[in-house]
Amino acid sequence: MKFQISNFKFQIIFLFISSFFLFLVDNAHAMHISEGILPFNWALFWSVIAVPFVAWGLYKLKKLSAIDLSFKPLVGLMAAVVFIISCMPIPVPTAGTCSHPCGTGISGILVGPAISILITAVALLIQALFLAHGGLTTWGADIVSMGVMGSFAGYLTFKALRSIKINLAVSGFMAGLFADWATYFTTSVELASGIKGDSEFMPLFWKILIAFIPTQLPLGILEGAMTAGMVILLYKKRPDLLVKMRVLKAEEAAI
């Protein structure tokens, strides 16, 4: 009855997921705000907001790596996961469109929001430079929506639910769900504020947010399931790691 996935099976699942988006490469675009969409002042504004968070991530990474070297593989894994997931367009049959999950829910839970923001910034930079996905001028805005808001939403949701003794799977699911929705909520704010011109902010914001719903509602659920699955998988395989990362208390883990 125990839920266990062998390394081999996990690698097969991973290969399946990472090869999946290759079939959809013609429509390999999603939430990232494309190059040139935001006016210069707004692009600069979001970049200025993103900078301290990225610096905080760098500081935390340096500090934690100096204390514990075993932290490195988890950060490496999370960086790869965020990169793959955030450029993996998934078709949503109910909406007839494609979009991608963000992966910041799981990274926020496992490595904390600071380092999650940093790895998201790196993933977004590579995508903007080489995958025609997002943009350099909109990099700051994309970091704020996906990195900052996604990571914090995932991390805080998980912590809040765990503090009231909600089980690990449900907490992980809700964290993934809210990380995804928070990202698209913030994208709507960024886009509406950037393109509104003389028109009013709120009607445009709602229009954009509502347009995201048919795609992001089911995708958020998928991201929730993926996040819960990864948390449970790590709980079964490396509960000691979850304790070390302060995801679980020692007494909660069956070490």
Binding site: M1, F3, N7, F10, F14, S18, F20, F21, L24, N27, A28, H29, A30, M31, I33, S34, E35, G36, I37, L38, P39, S70, P73, L74, G76, L77, A79, A80, I84, C87, P91, G96, T97, C98, I126, F130, L131, G135, N167, A169, F173, T187, L191, G194, I195, G197, S199, K207, A211, T215, Q216, I221, L222, A225, A228, G229, I232, K237, R238, D240
Partner: protein, 116 residues
């Protein structure tokens, strides 16, 4: 018969332990549904399965006089994008696999050394 009923009861009582399996099943089912939907979609002249950046972000930006600019390094040309995505997927997959193996190997080593 008795055995079957008690087994069923056992499964109901242990429903909590089934949550991870259920989540994995839901994720696989959603991915399968998406894949089959994409594979059997009808050919139309309009672009199929547009990303939300086209159907939402760029659409509303265009309505308000903002248009997306060509990326600084434009890989969105023919099969070049296919190639860079293949490269990115392969690299990302290998890195994830490598670190996953390292995380699991550490665990095995700790077990072997009797630390756990």
């Amino acid at each position: 018969m008795r055995f079957q009923i008690s087994n069923f009861k056992f499964q109901i009582l242990n429903l909590k332990s089934q949550i991870p399996r259920l989540l994995l099943f839901c994720t696989s089912a959603a991915l399968f549904l998406c894949l089959t939907a994409a594979a059997f979609a009808e050919e139309t002249k309009e672009p199929k399965w547009p990303g939300v950046d086209e159907s939402v972000v760029e659409k509303y930006a265009k309505e308000h006089g903002r248009e997306a600019r060509e990326p600084f390094i434009n890989t969105d040309q023919g099969d070049l994008l296919l190639f860079v995505f293949l490269l990115a997927g392969t690299a990302g997959g290998f890195i994830a696999g490598y670190y996953w193996k390292e995380l699991m190997a550490n665990r095995k080593q700790q077990r072997t050394n009797g630390n756990i």
